[in-house]
Amino acid sequence: MSLSSFRLGRRYVLLCAALGIAACGSEQDITPAESPSFPAGFPEPIYSYRNNPVTEEGFELGRALFYDPILSKDGSVSCGSCHRQEAAFADPGSPVTQGVGGKEGSRNTPALANLRWSRAFFWDGGGNHLELVPLAPITNPLEMGENLSSVIRKLNRDPEYVQAFRKAFQHRDTVNSQQLFRALAQFMGELVSAGSPYDQFQNGKAEALTPEQKKGLVVFKGKCGTCHQPGLFTDHSFRNNGLDADTPQDTGRHLVTESPTDVGRFKVPSLRNVALTSPYMHDGRFGTLQQVLEHYDTGVRRSATLDPALDGPTPGIQLSQAEKRQLLAFLQSLTDQSFIGNKRFAAPRP
């Protein structure tokens, strides 16, 4: 649906360029006449595609790269090895990442959806731009273990890739890292999940949620919605949700800012498709949503940086058994079958 409007936008830019309108270097002022390609109720995306308009060729190239282990040191691990579509691009069952040579990382593979609305990436928010996100897993010795120049060399040695890059980015030159990152950003950016029963309910289809789920939505808004704001189901903040009393080995946001007030803070993850993305938390310590709710009810531990929203005479979020049942039912309604079943997002056939 969105691709045709982007094509139109590109033609418009080309036409303007041909007419000399952009000849004075004011190229950036041109706003392509593109219709919003994002769901109603979502804010303007952070990653606008302005410098990287999506094309069919670019998206398909990004998709091929996403599923190609050529990006890893020994050709054994692709982005898709850990980000699995059936699990909303999380890694089902693995508490932490599994990289080249069976190496284990220290954090849980995050689900991928609605990335264009993220300002900060990774559990600690160390990534500041969608295009550069893949650089971290590609170069992490515990993940894909490769270096960027080597990836670019391999791609340039592959005639099919060279041709695909030339088509996608309209050039006759060699492949560079900007094109690699922009192709991947086109694929990642198009991974939009907004077709769950919850969304259908929001769009006026009252029967999309069961009575239990409707009760759960009310509980959710009252007790979880401050941080997991409905819509994107995150407020993009970094918080300490009381997993550990002492200074944890992985200090989270503190690794990025070096600020003592950030010790133990991690990004509030989106809850879209959360029923599929087990295990939970930055280190994958909880296997089930039931355990997560138990944590918030009775497991929250005090520390210097515990989030104020969870602190009080009894830390945590007190939940009755009925509320937990209703919440679990509601969280199921965030599962987007049209997203995990979308063939455009699946591994391309060889």
């Binding site: 000849a23 500041n128 690699l180």
Partner: protein, 255 residues
Amino acid sequence: MKSLMPRQAALLSIILTLMLSFSCSEDPEAVPQSGEVTLVFDHVVGNFPLSLEDLEYTNANGDGFRVSKFQYYISNLVFRKADGTEYHQPESYYLVDESIPSSKLVSVKDVPPGDYSGLSFTIGVDSARNVAGAQTGALDPANGMFWSWNTGYVFLKLEGTSPQSKNGGLVFHTGGFQAPHNSLRTVSLPFLAGQKLRVEASRTPRVSLSADVLRLFQGVNTIRFSELSSTMGGANSVKVADNYTRMFTVGHMRE
């Protein structure tokens, strides 16, 4: 285009030509021809030339050290005239690397003619480009001057060894563009007294700029390798950055 009749095509091309010739406010022919300046970077350690071979140097604290890698970004070059007017080079990003001789010759084209009295530049990569996504050329992350886990450019790398270092190694990587750990520093260098840099179309003057590695470790903060032998951005990187504002001196100018 194919479907246009020849007459229509001719008319269209005339319109296009007219639009193109009037679309820019400045008529290029009215501007005097610009010139070119070559900046020649030279790396020293106190009174000695920097060598990446097996030479041992001594820092201000008396610690011995050897250097195996020395690279840094220079960005946003500004040439200043005596009357205060300035030329800001657009797209001004250079990666200078001791091990790559050609990187130490920076050719700056399209400098407006005139007599210049000084220049300034930033050590590092400005904050805008740190948050602008995938870049090319000097700013291509494939150059190895980029952190992926905390997105941003490494502004300067000095690596080597020192017997005083706890693990024997020196890894000074500076970077970070946000308060309170901003390692971007702008240096302003007046040319030597009485010297003017004359830029005109017919010549390519050379300005030599010397960077003294010793000054990374002295000045505002005396670095003792027993206490600090590794930085990866953050607060420790700022200690080195506060020193490197005084790392460069302008040397002679010649044709």
